[in-house]
Assembly symmetry: C2
Homo-oligomer: 316 residues x 2
DNA sequence: TCTTGCTCATGCATTTCAGTATATCTACTC
DNA sequence: GAGTAGATATACTGAAATGCATGAGCAAGA
């Protein structure tokens, strides 16, 4: 077993079997047949000298050894996808696919109009938007460009600071008419609050930086910031959301303006290798401009509140 | 060209052709034949829709498009190699290959005895030592474990500080007998100095931190720290080297001890994913102990010199 | 000028690999 | 208890990819 000679294709089928859980499903996914996929797995096990899966009539259950190899197979898949993205964008033309990673709220509420305008300007450009609150690794090529609320510490990344997104309490006008408008932070105790479900490290950081916040139990708990936003819009109660999003709906009114506000520093991040790729350069610039406009457009609405609540390296 | 379906194997042959420069050489490297390799490249070009190489009787010259894809192919190769390394190290047994990245001096002068002892304890363990002053990327899996003189900033890396390696001026006894022992830093101007060739950013940082150093032209210039060490040992002149290395040879004597010394903070770095891999854990611990011993063993020799010349984030 | 050594390109035989069809096993539903 | 739908494993057949042999082009050196 000195000179291993495994086909790189076997890694792909291995990963697919791992993801799908059965030879048949993997075969469907790969456009192959079940015997072929089985043979690939057999060959890989024969080469390595130990089993990767335990067969059962319900599918293939990965062994610990197989799970240990999964991260490598994942990066292989991400890298080959990135290679294809780069390859399908021809020289000097803005075409091909750009994969963008952003939080759910940003990806769903903020980016679409920006991307629509970009696509109108470059019809050959395809957008892959990964709207998820899990941080994707740019170094592993899981995305080409990312919108981040945390300062990018890694080398080999190009980062551009696009401003700070202010967030503060908001509620629907109907709710305020029904329950009254709180005047102080302490008044919040008598209201229906919308907040997080599980306490993440990012949230703990926010709490630590904002001792003025009363600790009131939430009436609506959701980890998804989108769900919190939807609850605010539905008039469920008072929650925190980006001022810029609230300003779009005249029925959403700020609550305790000036008494509590935080700013989420926002960065646009891209891998250094991609700075010469036209499709990425163009998208990067369009996102930077669009996000700056978004932040600037809402800045006047909250002008006058200069509280030093610093940038929370956090959610949203 | 919507649904690209390129075999991952074609990436491997593509990369090999890129590295070797010809279909024939790539075929030899891969254990295939030249027509097969040519067909792989043809298929890749047909799928992408544009040429990757210009054919000539002397070999294949990559186009710009091909060069743009090379980093991705490199990552694929590094990752699949890492996967194989992980795969060939069985469960719960210390076996398989560990790839270690270190500077030339550390890798050649310091590590071998440590690794020899490690291998004696675990004969099934294979060592791949990459002794190079170019920084290899642990996140890209170019190595499993690295000895670094710079603080590791990246996430997802496990780092252990193993101490500070003191470096200072040294010379061979023969040289001192011939040219005399300098008493002050200014005396260095009358001596044959051994130093760097090109001024890197790391070296500039050292110079900035050590204003007491006179700017004297070097009589022997080499970017390789190994070559500088060899020049010191050959009695060429006075140069900077690690005190621990100098202490091994009674003919190498310290020059201006206490007047100039720097400490290179040293870290052992490993990817987080590998902390459960027995072969890596064992190697990591052995390196940590070995390097600590190396540093400790030379500490008494220079005891008493407590000048605050801080850690230079630099070479050696 | 002719040889040598390197390259890539092409036609043809073969081997290898993938697909089809089928058997078998298990869980779940009626 | 029979039937259905999911899974893997195994023979057999056919296509596709590989290897072999050969031809042709170019550069260096005798």
């Amino acid at each position: 077993m000195s000179k291993m000679d495994l086909s790189w294709d076997s890694y792909r089928t291995f990963l697919t079997v791992l993801q799908e859980g059965s030879l048949s499903a993997a075969a469907r996914e790969l456009g192959l047949t079940q015997p072929t996929v089985g043979r690939h797995v057999d060959a890989m096990e024969a080469t390595l000298g130990y089993p990767l899966f335990v067969r059962s009539p319900h599918g293939l259950l990965p062994t610990d050894a197989a799970l240990a190899l999964k991260p490598y197979a994942d990066t292989l898949a991400a890298t080959s996808a990135a290679l294809l993205r780069e390859a399908s964008s021809q020289r000097d033309t803005v075409s091909g696919a750009v994969r963008i990673s952003a939080s759910e709220v940003i990806g769903i509420e903020v980016l679409p109009p920006i991307l629509a305008e970009l696509h109108a300007a470059y019809p050959a450009l395809t957008i892959e938007l990964s709207a998820s609150d899990t941080v994707e690794d740019l170094l592993r090529q899981e995305a080409d460009i990312a919108v981040r609320m945390v300062a990018p510490a890694q080398d080999a990344l190009i980062a551009r600071h696009v401003g700070a997104v202010p967030i503060s309490f908001h509620a629907h006008r109907r709710y305020i008419e029904r329950r009254g408008m709180p005047e102080t932070l302490a008044d919040l105790a008598r209201h229906s609050l919308i907040g997080y479900d599980r306490e993440t490290s990012a949230i703990r950081a926010i709490i630590a930086r904002s001792p003025e916040l009363p600790s009131v139990p939430f009436a609506f708990k959701a980890d998804s910031n989108l769900a919190q936003l939807a609850a605010i819009r539905a008039g469920f109660g008072i929650g925190i959301c980006q001022n810029g999003l609230a300003a779009r709906d005249p029925d959403i009114v700020p609550v305790l303006p000036g008494l509590f506000e935080m700013k989420l520093e926002t960065w646009l991040v891209m891998h250094e290798n991609l700075k010469t790729a036209p499709r990425c350069r163009v998208t990067f610039d369009a996102l930077a401009k669009g996000l700056r406009d978004y932040i600037r457009g809402i800045a006047p609405a909250v002008a006058g509140s200069h509280d030093p609540a610093q940038a929370a390296q956090a959610i949203v």
